[in-house]
Symmetry: C2
Subunit: 299 residues, 2 copies
DNA sequence: GGTTGGCATGCGAGACTCGCATGTCTTGGA
DNA sequence: TCCAAGACATGCGAGTCTCGCATGCCAACC
C-alpha cells in the first residue's frame, strides 16, 4: 500500500469531493479517483458513497479514516524525529573516557555540547583504553576518549580515531621543593628523588623514560589514585609524574612543573568512534567539541 | 512512501541481514537492498550500517523502527477492523421505526440480530414515516421501518425500500360485544357503533374506509394513544381499528377481530435504507432479519 | 431539456520495481 | 598469500504501475 493513497483518502474525506482533494494535493481528479479506487480494492471495501455532488464516507470509510490519520500522523512523527535527530534536537551519546580525561576535558566538552544542544542526552562511563575500545566495538559506546602511545593505540580493536592532542607530562613536587618554582624541569634533575609511582611494572612511563635518561628511579611508594599521590607529594614524601590533563585538579599546596618535552614520550589522546558505519550526528558533534576543548586546553 | 518499504525495513532490522529478510519475505536480496535504499533516500538518513556480515541498525534506524512498527500495526488493525465490520463482528445500526412497529416487529428483529451478531451495536428511535425518511436521507439513521399507503410512501424522500409485509386491520371490541367471537367482521356491521378514533381528520383510515362501505362513522372519542384507546374499548365506550402489528399488545379484556380484507386498504410496511450508497453489512442484515420476522408475524 | 458539476475510465508516456547477473568488499581458511 | 565464501550494491531489461489528458456517464439544477 502506498501511503499516498492514505493522504488522498484523508483529503477526500475532509473535503467530501475528489475534485477538491485533487486541487489541494496538486493531483488531477483522475489520479485521485484511481488512488481511492486502489485503496478500496486493497481494503476490499467501498470507502465513499458516490453522490450526485461529491462523495460521502461510508461506515467502513469512517473506520479506516481513524487508522489512516493515525498512520499519517505517525509517519509525520517519524520524519520529524529523524530530522530532529539529525539536527541535534534529539538523540543520545554514550561517551567513555580514561580517568584523567574526566578531570576537565570530557566534562568541559559535554557541558559545551549540552549548552548548544540541550535535547541531546549524554551519558558517561570511565574505563581503560582497552575496555573502552571493546565497548565501542560492541556498540555499547558511541564515543571513547582514549590515551596511549602509538603502539598501544594500534593494538586496540578497530575504531575511527581522531587525534585530539598530545599529553605532556609534568612533575608534582612538594611546595617547598628546590625545583618548585622552575618553569621546566629535566628528568635527570630528579634522579635522586624519592618517586611515587602508579605501579612498579617495567612498562611504566616513569621507569622507561628515566632509563632513557640514564638512571633508575627510586620508587618509594606505589600509589594508584591521583588524589592519594597528591597527598604523598604534599607530605614531602616524594615526587610523581602527572599527565597534563590531571593538572587542573592538583591541590594548591603542591607544585606542578612541566617536564622538558624531550624527556618523556608524549601520549596521544584520541576520540574514537565505531570503525564501521556512521557515527550519529550528536556523536560526531561531540568529537568536534572534544577537539576544540583539547586545543583550548593544550594550546 | 510504500508501506512495503516499512515491512522490508522491519524484517531487515529483526534479522540483521538483507539476505535473510529477503528469504523470509519472498524477495530477492536485490529487491530488499533497493527498498531499504529507497526508504533511506525518502527519510534522508542512513538506517543501517553495512557490516562485513549483515547490517546493524543505526541510531536513526532505531528511531524509525519504533514508528515503523506502530504504523504497520495500525495498518494491520485497520484491515482487521474493516474485515470485522464486513463480517458483522463490529459496527453500528441506527434504526428508526413508526410506533406500532415497536410493539414486536422491530424488537424481535433487533433481538434476533443481536443474538447472531452480539458485537454489532443497535440503537433505535421512534418517529413518523416522514421524519424517519428525512433522518435517513441526512444519514442520521441507517434503517427506517415505515408504514403507509402507496401514495404516502411515494411522497417520501428518496430511499431504497424493501417491502416487508402488508398490515391488515382489525377491530377492537369490548369483551362482551355481540361480534366479539367472530373470526371476521365486515366494516358495515359496525356502522352503528360508537367509534374511538386517533384523529378526526378526513384522511383518517377509518373515515375513508367507512365511506367506501357507505356509512359515515360516528366518532365519539378522539384518543391518540393505543394504550388509552384500549381503555375506552374495555370500558365499553366504543370500538376502534387496530393495526395488525399492535395486536400483540392488546389487553386481555378486549376482543380483537380481523376485518374483512376488502374493507380497508392494506398499509404497506417497508424497511428503508439510504437511496444512494451502500448500506453497511449490519444494516443490510437487519433489513433481511426484519423481512424474516415480518413474514413470521403475518404468515 | 440543456447545462453544469463531478466521478469513472480508455489510452499512452513515463516512472518505478523486480529478478537476474555481476561487481565489490570483507572475512576466514588453505 | 591467495582463494573461496558471504553479503550488500548495481547495471540492465521486462513487466507493472501511475499519471495526465480527453472523454464518458450520471444526476441535479436552471
Amino acid at each position: 500500500m502506498d501511503t499516498a493513497w492514505l493522504e488522498v483518502f484523508r483529503a477526500v474525506a475532509r473535503r467530501g469531493s475528489f475534485t477538491e482533494a485533487a486541487k489541494t494535493l496538486g493531483y488531477t481528479q483522475s489520479a485521485v479517483s484511481r488512488q481511492v479506487a486502489a485503496l478500496e480494492s486493497d481494503m476490499d471495501t467501498v470507502l465513499f458513497d458516490r453522490l450526485a455532488r461529491g462523495v460521502r464516507l461510508t461506515e467502513s470509510g469512517r473506520f479506516l479514516l481513524d487508522h489512516a490519520e493515525a498512520v499519517l500522523d505517525r509517519l509525520d512523527g517519524a520524519r520529524h524525529d529523524v530530522r530532529a535527530w539529525k539536527s541535534l534536537r534529539a538523540g543520545r551519546v554514550r561517551v567513555g573516557s580514561f580517568a584523567t580525561a574526566g578531570v576537565s576535558l570530557v566534562p568541559a566538552a559535554i557541558a559545551r555540547l549540552r549548552a548548544a544542544h540541550p535535547d541531546v542526552t549524554v551519558t558517561h562511563a570511565d574505563g581503560l583504553a582497552r575496555e573502552l575500545a571493546a565497548r565501542l566495538a560492541s556498540s555499547d559506546l558511541d564515543v571513547a576518549v582514549l590515551n596511549g602511545y602509538p603502539d598501544q593505540i594500534a593494538a586496540l580493536p578497530a575504531a575511527r580515531l581522531r587525534h585530539l592532542c598530545d599529553e605532556p607530562m609534568l612533575v608534582a613536587l612538594p611546595a617547598g621543593h628546590r625545583l618548585a618554582r622552575r618553569t621546566t624541569v629535566r628528568l635527570g634533575e630528579l634522579a635522586d628523588e624519592a618517586w611515587i609511582a602508579g605501579s612498579s611494572s617495567p612498562e611504566e612511563t616513569l621507569i622507561s623514560a628515566a632509563a632513557r635518561q640514564g638512571f633508575r628511579p627510586r620508587i618509594s611508594y606505589v600509589v594508584r589514585e591521583w588524589i592519594a599521590k597528591q597527598g604523598f607529594v604534599a607530605a614531602g614524601l616524594g615526587v610523581t609524574l602527572v599527565p597534563a590533563l590531571a593538572v587542573d585538579s592538583a591541590r594548591p599546596d603542591i607544585a606542578v612543573v612541566p617536564l622538558h618535552p624531550k624527556d618523556t614520550p608524549l601520549r596521544g589522546i584520541y576520540a574514537a568512534t565505531i570503525a564501521d558505519g556512521t557515527p550519529s550526528p550528536a556523536a560526531a558533534r561531540l568529537v568536534d567539541v572534544l577537539d576544540d576543548v583539547a586545543s583550548d586546553l593544550v594550546g
